[in-house]
Symmetry: C2
Subunit: 430 residues, 2 copies
């Protein structure tokens, strides 16, 4: 008998019919002899609708009250799902984040889980009931209701799987798994059988939306095996596991892209100790989420620093940037929102030095200019113009022959962007 944690996203429980279908699937899992704990998101657009309601009240909603508001969403979906399971003749019981013992810090809107006290969930499962837990939410050490931020339900599921010692954490979504590239951009993109935690971390950090970065970090730290799969089919999806568990060693896992960020460059600032701190401390204090930071070597005592940040943080960052320029004695600052990041990811590239060169070749052959380059041991990323991003992804996908067959792929109807990686390492490396 296995203990399975299943997570269903908002699209999977978008209306009553879908909830009933998910309930049937859960009941089947239990009937097969498994203990089942389910984490559920709010139905469809509920969270967006609640945001819009708050916007009608005030443009600066209070953090604690916003969390109180948003947590109504999962309350509705989990109660309905629990009812649907009971109507199928199985015992089920729903738990809020608080009842499920998801203890967080006090950062409203982006709380971090500090502990999981899953006693009630554990008891329910041991009594043969199906536990339905609200994703995305917890209770703070101050006893206030908190939310975990976008993608928080994935994190809830992984954290519960770790606390319960689950055999697997199944993440159900509206795509069939992790792909070698976004299937809406590259029609030949292939579904992958497995990726390592490290590859999935880089994929998520580089724009893949199938799994949120924090849930992957959590899974890696607690060695939780994740199975990303579609709630609309019974097919196997993609496993996210330890590297040595994988069947094959891939060189390239896939290509991710991201057009949600803007580039900021601060020009001609002194190249001396402490300057970087004086740039990034004020931004951090303002809560601006800086992603990449690139500073090139210079010999003249002056340098430029570039970094990227989410477009929605630009307005908040601008006054801070102006005062930073004054404070460090820079010549100026420029913000460019029309950029895209393209990233090539694969654990195998650590031992294959030609990978970056092949990627640059592919972009050169497509006539696409590279503006900034950043790499990690298993990732190469470039900033390019946003309007060229689809051509760039296709060119790199071709260069590395990530598809060996042309797969017919339907257009994905909803919000989630597919993502990417190839399980084969024989393709086109220079």
């Amino acid at each position: 008998m296995a203990l399975i944690v299943q997570k269903y996203g908002g699209t999977s429980v978008g209306d009553a019919e879908r909830i009933k279908r998910v309930a049937r699937r859960i009941v089947d899992s239990a009937a097969a002899g498994n203990q089942v704990c389910v984490v559920v998101s709010a139905m469809g657009d509920t969270t967006d609708d609640l945001f819009a309601l708050a916007e009608q009240i005030t443009s600066t909603p209070h953090g604690r009250e916003m969390d109180m508001l948003l947590t109504a969403g999962e309350r509705i979906s989990m109660a309905l799902l629990s009812m649907a399971i009971i109507a199928l003749g199985r015992e089920a019981v729903s738990f809020t984040g608080s009842q499920a013992g998801i203890i967080t810090d006090t950062s409203h809107g982006r709380a971090r889980i500090v502990e999981v006290k899953a006693r009630r969930v554990k008891e329910a499962i041991e009594e043969g009931r199906i536990a339905i837990v609200a994703g995305f939410q917890g209770v703070s050490t101050d006893l206030d209701v908190t939310t975990l931020g976008r993608g928080g339900s994935d994190t809830t599921a992984v954290a519960l799987a770790a606390a319960l010692g689950a055999d697997v954490c199944e993440i159900y979504t509206d795509v069939e798994g992790v792909f070698t590239a976004d299937p809406r951009v590259v029609a030949e993109a292939k579904k992958l059988h497995a990726v390592s935690y490290e590859e999935m971390l880089e994929l998520s950090a580089s724009g893949a939306k199938v799994l949120m970065l924090r849930s992957v970090e959590f899974a890696r730290n607690h060695r939780v095996r994740i199975h990303v799969r579609s709630s609309f089919t019974l097919d196997d999806g993609t496993w996210v596991t330890e590297e040595d568990e994988r069947m094959e060693q891939a060189i390239i896992s896939g290509i991710a892209h991201d057009t949600s960020e803007a580039r900021v460059t601060i020009y001609d600032l002194p190249d001396s100790p402490g300057v970087a701190a004086r740039v990034f401390r004020p931004l951090a204090d303002e809560g601006v989420n800086v992603d990449w930071i690139v500073q090139n070597f210079s010999e003249e005592g002056r340098t430029d620093i570039s970094f990227t940040l989410p477009k929605e943080d630009i307005r908040r960052a601008e006054p801070v940037l102006a005062s930073i320029v004054d404070n460090v004695g820079a010549a100026g600052v420029r913000t460019d929102p029309d950029i895209a990041k393209v990233s090539l990811i694969g654990a195998g590239m650590k031992t294959h030095p030609g990978v970056a060169a092949s990627m640059f070749d592919a972009l050169a052959e497509a006539g696409i200019n590279i503006e900034v380059i950043s790499t990690s041991s298993i990732r190469v990323s470039c900033v390019i113009r946003a309007f060229e991003v689809e051509r760039a992804v296709k060119a790199i996908h071709d260069k590395f022959s990530l598809s060996d067959e042309v797969v017919f792929r339907e257009e994905h109807p909803d919000t989630v962007t597919g993502q990417l990686r190839a399980i084969r390492g024989d393709g086109g490396l220079s």
Copy 2:
């Protein structure tokens, strides 16, 4: 400095604009130097919408999960209201029923409050913040979320007012107070300045919808002063208080009517000890809410028993009634859904024996047949045909001259039915 508990119903917080208006009103109360605790219902039709969602999942929703679902409604309204107050520059903090310490028994869907542990609410108020509490909900002694049933928010408000030792419990609604009759039926109905707890109990039990019966019982038992008033005007509404607090002693408080019940008569059953128990015990066990019971004197060893029950309980009651007829050896049973109850209520009638006769006169003069009569020390009620109910209310209102002037009254747009009573006792008693 007074401590005020204010309760706002669903219509008062039906959309973002109304929530902002209510927030302004609450801030004004606080700015006038009062400590304010607010109890709020779900927005508009939210609760009905959630019921409908559950109906799409299953026709027999599980009680615990239904309560989990429904409590999402107040969570949304209370968070929005709290945000709106904070946006006006005052500190506010929202509490679920559980956080506010509303401890109930474990009867899902119709839980009773067993204790109020208002520590967090009290602390918030003492720190100068406005406490916003979810109406209608609590947490059971088993730590599960419960709801209090229809009108439960009134009960929450009164219970909190008792626990906090509030000076007054203001019930805001979409009518201006308690009236001598439903203003939609009798255009000349007058708003009353005050009614006693006992009168309000009889009014609520007889069909008045301004205040739910249980909240009035709670108020009487804990001597909580209630002020029923409109959230759309600043006018004084109706006070519900101890009898001796009232300015004037009324003979007749008002007329209530109710078309939500059906009459059941069991014919020709043995007039012997234990028969009534054998009729009503099985109904109680089935959860059927029997209201009036009338059994007339008989000399022949056989009798009939009539009673009323909510129309929505008929389907549940019918198989039980069939087995009761067999069990007690009755000749048969008949259920009639087309009835109305009309009730005349007034504490003063205890010492004025002619009141009932005048009421029967009024109905006789209008040509309306009386089918069943039931009385208490401060109430006379008749069952009549449903289609005659408006004429009956008008005839009785005229007979007792409950209006001394014709008041222009707008049609009330929404769901709440106005209610009724006259502060004068000089009219038309025989």
